[in-house]
Symmetry: D2
Amino acid sequence: MPELSRIGVAIATDLLGEFDALINKRGYTNRSEAFRDLIRAELVRESSSRPTGHVVGSLTVVYDHHVRLLEEKLTELQHNHSRLILSVLHIHLDHDNCMELIALRGTSKDVQRLAGLLTATKGVKHAQLAITASSEAL
Amino acid sequence: MPELSRIGVAIATDLLGEFDALINKRGYTNRSEAFRDLIRAELVRESSSRPTGHVVGSLTVVYDHHVRLLEEKLTELQHNHSRLILSVLHIHLDHDNCMELIALRGTSKDVQRLAGLLTATKGVKHAQLAITASSEAL
Amino acid sequence: MPELSRIGVAIATDLLGEFDALINKRGYTNRSEAFRDLIRAELVRESSSRPTGHVVGSLTVVYDHHVRLLEEKLTELQHNHSRLILSVLHIHLDHDNCMELIALRGTSKDVQRLAGLLTATKGVKHAQLAITASSEAL
Amino acid sequence: MPELSRIGVAIATDLLGEFDALINKRGYTNRSEAFRDLIRAELVRESSSRPTGHVVGSLTVVYDHHVRLLEEKLTELQHNHSRLILSVLHIHLDHDNCMELIALRGTSKDVQRLAGLLTATKGVKHAQLAITASSEAL
């Protein structure tokens, strides 16, 4: 268990009431947990915006597997950047479309560059990068 | 002055250290102030996503004033929605381009609809909506 | 192969030059492909903002597996919403932290609600939803 | 008038149909205009993410004018960065709250730094930066 600090925060009673209503609605049962999540989300936004920040996250890619040579190209690209890729989950969405969830770890810059290359590949219909954590904030 | 509450938050010492470093870098001199800003920003994200949430904010529009009838159309659109518009600041960016900062207040849905109409007007090059506050969080 | 249309687009030569430079940098070799990606991304932004829009995507979750009962809670939550969950990839990030990539399909509203519940669970450090496609745009 | 190019874009008929429905709903009467707006929005996202990219935009700030010395601090900060600030619109929202729309021009890095300083000032409740245009895309 990590060492815990207990800090005091001064906050207008009205604002606190609205915050409690919001986190209640979202299913939080513990206010400190909600504060920690807010902090971590802010640290992630910060890390993602620094090219050298270390991040983990995922790229979700949807593509039509009928496009000629597409799967070969995606595999080739992934192998050329294998040090950034932790693992891949492949899903058959329907007759035509595949979805891949690619777990990534590396500098913000490298992760974003690889995401760009996969997105730009002809036949890839959608791609969405989710930077989930700065390594520092883990 | 609004009534103040003082609450305790339990947080891993490491995570707190990173948060303090971040808010320091951003120029905060007071940790409670940073917490309050995080809370208000989260409440705004929530309000903006509810169509009936009351918001204030601004629309920033850049356009080329040479486009025929554009200024007439923008003025007409603004007058048709004048109950949403608090005030407008007009700036001459360069020989061709104007920027308008339009202060808005209303439901999230109405504000977004007006922003959409102004954005879609031919000759408007850029438009960016900034939802700044839920009326509740003021 | 889907039926193809060929349309003409009028665009300032300068603006087209900048667009070509941008997509070149991103690795596109085909301008139509870049246009199609822009369109699909815009359709996804639209679907995500409609509660009843059908979407596919992923939730990336990072958590500390030492937190008591956390894995049980996450599993329970996922089983209670199993019709939304296509598949899950589990990664051991380091001694303390796990990352799960959860492939999701359903209405924007349901997918966002499940993401909220998983995010709010005590011990979940980060969670990021990536809405990747509207079912319509597949 | 800038020089115009006319380009051809190949696009699946279904996808084009959905795009036309979307832009119709948004109030576009001209498909080329919608394409140009998509391109410009993408160029802006790119410029904002490069620290040295030149941008114009606005910062919308909401604050409580009763907070002691706040207006002095905001004025001081703005004067210290006056080369970034084109103009300011001040609005009295209600008894307690003021909103300022600050028109900005400069490098992405400088504009974001100033936005951070204004946001962090004690008493500022909300602040939202809207990067509206890369100078290149004007």
